[in-house]
Symmetry: C3
Subunit: 463 residues, 3 copies
């Protein structure tokens, strides 16, 4: 059995010195998926299973891989039919499966440092720990705003659909609470004709903006207005999920033809990809106009398990990364706007083979391009090491963007930023050891990577 709290940083020597200097810096969370309603309503979180287990795809995918049916941990089960304590107990019985995974490190940190639990999780301690967490969740100190404050969050960005009214964000701004929670413009459903909601959401966007989206010009105008709606609510960035990366500037007649076909749901799959690729270039151009930073996440084959897709829907742990050709994929976009340093384009990959071969050379050349942090499966101690190993020598540190937690698990945010800071400290300590830099530069970079770069790359100080 593990000793409780063992995973508090086991760093030593230089790495510990570096870590100690940055561990308490404010947290910048410029990309993630928390629900703004938590902070608008400030209601207590529900039970431990609902909060920590059921929505965490890292957790349920591992359980499922070892033969645990998803229903037994409450997935696809109505809330009133779930037994949170039984779910938590089942999870505790399988806790050994998570040895070596970031999930275990995040949760260990969360149990020990957020909930103050002193026991190690195990079958025997499950009920007791469940009770301790449930008890704390009912206290005022564990309401969303109090946690936000105690986490030392300087800013938290959410991700919001293009049609979102941002009422929660407006309520937060109007509240008597200084926490900075900002939206991010995520227009996949109105840019990508292959999106299931495209032909519904585009007309709805027209109504919202009071613009005739019957023409391509009207459509562009509506997009511009939605971006300004987000800007007005505090957004500094957009975010784009791209399945097949290609960007190409199409001529107007073809565009209008594709747009009409898309609206009528009569566009071919390959034309949908081309239209989406063109629209990414339009977004980049609008970013130059309005200053929104542009994020692009590429590289997952979604829902590869068809049984789970039919039974439970998307995001069931069967999204698997794939190869991405970044050079040809971004060619159209970069050759149109990539020489403009006013554009801030942040690229995220799941194909690590592209780090040293493509992305670092590209980020070390194009004025507009920066490289996002290790993402999803690679948001881990080894993932961070591989990232620095393959990226820094060619792109330097200033073409990076610090850290994103990219999570909807609010409670895990301190743990994730802590893991990043540990990874940064280990990396920089090794840089000193191998004669790449001196301790002064390493300490400076530790703060840059923990906080400053994210503020800068996401233009969070400018607004």
């Amino acid at each position: 059995m593990a000793e409780a709290g063992w995973n508090r940083p086991a760093l030593r020597g230089r790495a510990l010195e570096i870590y100690d200097a940055v561990r308490a810096l404010p947290i910048i969370s410029p990309h993630g998926h928390c629900d703004p309603n938590w902070f608008a309503g400030n209601e207590a979180f529900s039970d431990p299973a609902e909060l920590l287990i059921i929505p965490d795809h890292y957790v349920f995918r591992m359980l499922y891989s070892q033969g645990v049916p998803l229903e037994t941990i409450g997935i696809g089960v109505a809330r009133e039919d779930r037994d949170p304590r039984a779910i938590f107990r089942l999870f505790a019985q399988h806790w050994h499966l998570f040895l070596g995974t970031p999930s275990r490190q995040w949760l260990d940190y969360t149990f020990a440092n957020i909930f103050g639990i002193e026991q190690a999780l195990a079958t025997e301690s499950a009920d007791d720990i469940f009770d301790q967490i449930a008890d704390r969740l009912s206290s005022d100190d564990f309401r969303p705003r109090a946690l936000f404050d105690s986490f030392n969050l300087e800013v938290l960005a959410t991700t919001d659909g293009a049609l979102d009214d941002l009422a929660a964000h407006r309520a937060i701004r109007d509240a008597d609470w200084p926490g900075r929670v900002i939206p991010t413009f995520r227009p996949d459903s109105v840019l990508n004709p292959a999106h299931a909601r495209f032909e519904v959401d585009v007309p709805a966007m027209g109504v919202l903006c009071n613009v005739d989206i019957g023409t391509f010009d009207g459509y562009l105008e509506a997009l511009r207005r939605r971006r300004h709606w987000f800007l007005d609510a505090g957004a500094t960035a957009t975010d784009h999920d791209v399945s097949v990366l290609t960007t190409e500037w199409l001529d107007r007649p073809e565009l209008e033809r594709l747009y009409r076909a898309a609206l009528a749901n009569e566009i071919s799959a390959s034309d949908a990809v081309r239209f989406h690729g063109h629209m990414l270039v339009e977004m980049a151009q609008m970013s130059i106009e309005d200053g929104l930073v542009m994020q692009i996440h590429v590289g997952s084959t979604r829902s590869t398990n068809r049984l789970l897709l039919e039974r439970f829907g998307t995001d069931m742990g069967a999204d698997i990364p794939k190869r991405v050709d970044w050079v040809s994929g971004l060619d159209g976009l970069l050759n149109r706007v990539g020489n403009n340093p006013e554009l801030s384009l942040i690229a995220f990959t799941l194909d690590e083979a592209a780090y040293a071969r493509e992305l670092a050379p590209m980020a070390g050349h194009w004025p507009a391009l920066r490289l996002g942090p290790p993402w999803w499966f690679h948001d881990s101690l080894n993932g961070i090491r591989r990232y620095f190993d393959q990226v820094v020598e060619t792109a330097g540190y200033r073409n990076l963007t610090g850290f994103n937690d990219d999570t909807r698990a609010f409670l895990s945010i301190p743990a994730r930023h802590d893991l990043w800071r540990r990874g940064v400290s280990l990396h920089l300590a090794e840089q000193i050891d191998r004669g790449v830099m001196d301790a002064g530069d390493a300490h400076h970079l530790a703060a840059v990577l923990s906080r400053d770069l994210a503020l800068d790359a996401y233009r969070l100080k400018e607004r």
Copy 2:
């Protein structure tokens, strides 16, 4: 010159502690290519060159790459025309070529720990070492069964063609010797129409099983019977070599058409791939029925050197790994049977770029899928490090399968498992150092990775 015995583990501190606790565990060898007749007949092994040099493709490929003609080390030469001492001498002269390779580490271990040789191999010591080895090989302590016992082998699986009568295995079971040597069902020649023996072996299988293989149903029935033949002889697994990975469930009329064409040797290359891909799904389904674990080895371009192929045949050191797309390649199989935890499918890759990007996410999701250990070129200290680095954070340890030596070099088995245990110890010591786990968990995992996982993944305790 090297000091003799230097390669006995140079581990220190935590890594040495972990290693010391697992170094003497029994060896589980669930996949390899030893000859069962060795243990059935228990005859003394022949001379040192015949045993250690001539059949080892790792050894002769390196010599060949540096201009040593294959004939000079006895390849393509009749046994009576070979001079074993001269071959051993030539090998010793080139011993420096192997610095840094696992071959050198395996052989150093074997010389020192199996044969008790105290000198370092060199041109000057070659004859003396040859004599020492030859001398020991003639003693009863070095007969196959005695070595098996002294190696502390708990179980050794061989690999056997679908038509094998398994007489050697039956002789071993009937002998007054408790060693557990079991067969593995390797049906490539009766599943893959591109296999040179397909149209001969399928009818032969029909005769063996007393089944009419003229129909596809008869063919399936014959396969089922051969699987039971292996089960009855102690097999717990099948093994499949796949060149082009694709799996697709074909409909019955097409299947029957392809089967007839395959039997008539009139099938196209692409149809052969499709038929083979379908048959892999059939094998997976039969595995659910009869409980045999299914192994799949993918990713080598075979015999890329046509001159050597013509002159000496296959397996001449010119098989080179290639890229594999695991997500699309296993799509048909996994979407048919991958959600069934009764299936145990073990995947081996030579394309390490797929570890973090595809295989670890897949093994960390599909109930049926586990990831085999680093294979062939990657069965090495760095290969083991890269494997753990890229796999564990996403798949955990329990979706792995421990170690395979995959060798026909019986004498090297202790060395290979020792190298794995060293690699495991180095990995786990680093996990502790970086705060990923505590010493108790690391010690537990060391035993799991050295023995338990292989027993479990290959269902060796169930039978």
Copy 3:
């Protein structure tokens, strides 16, 4: 701010011992892009900006990526319109961008060890350092030949177009100076029909050689003569830049047809690739005849930034690596001549995913093939580590070729070889630590990797 001189090797323990034994070995530079006229004329180098900043694509690409216009550092500006001091100052202001990059390590070494500068580079010290460098450049000790001698250069190979008269090299040989500066035959413009100068350079080659290049036989004869022209001037190698790797032996009628089309500038892109691929095999065959070592550099998408290409031409920092399939790409060449140990073919890749998967297995098999050192973006401390990590276990050390600096930055040559020797020392110290070899073997290999392998692979001792 950095302490001056901090980047002098921070190695410790075993790594420092190994490094100390090889740091002062003579430098072998068998592949690079220095200008032979420097050594023929022995004129003083011009100002610091002209020498260190403006021609260095590593430097200006990083500045450009952070929004510094290329014109401001003198690119695309006539020499008389440049202000070297202002350029150097601008560079110093952006010195922090280079933290963690080999550029910074090379320049730090150069400032401290070549120019004896004791301050750290910074905005405040820029003018003073500029003056110190300018001052030293005007002294006789900093003329090209004196630097060559003080660098302890044993041999320096340049890279020269197929039509070069090699007058500078002849002048060097005739001079009263013992420095060995040799040419390398780089015939891209007369082998690759896609090269912009092909249809001009081939006829010019015919005139130079007094051969009728109207026939394919005449063309081959002209190439043979040019190779001998280079051999007579001291060359030991050829070098080939290949964009799309494919090699295939074409039959004579097709060859003659393609050759005529190429000369007439009427060849299709795909036929140009095939013709070039055939000519690489011809080059390999001529290498067997005349003994020139054959280098092949593969894997960059050139000039991906079209704006910069139009405005400033090629080599503007927008060349980005791409995937290469080495097995199929070299199939035609290797199956024709790869079994001949008389051929020495050295392959350089920018796609590191090919190291463990393809190149190490190939170099560990084919007698003709050796693997070049980490190149371009990968000529760095991490690049060196990844190279050894992925290559040595399968290819050993003797199928490698030591180090190339591949630079036109003459002043950086000692720094680059020093970084390689540091990387070698770190690698070998770890090999000892992990029990892969003993200290004696590691010390021996350090010298082999620092000097002997390059001499051997490039046949520099034979001539």
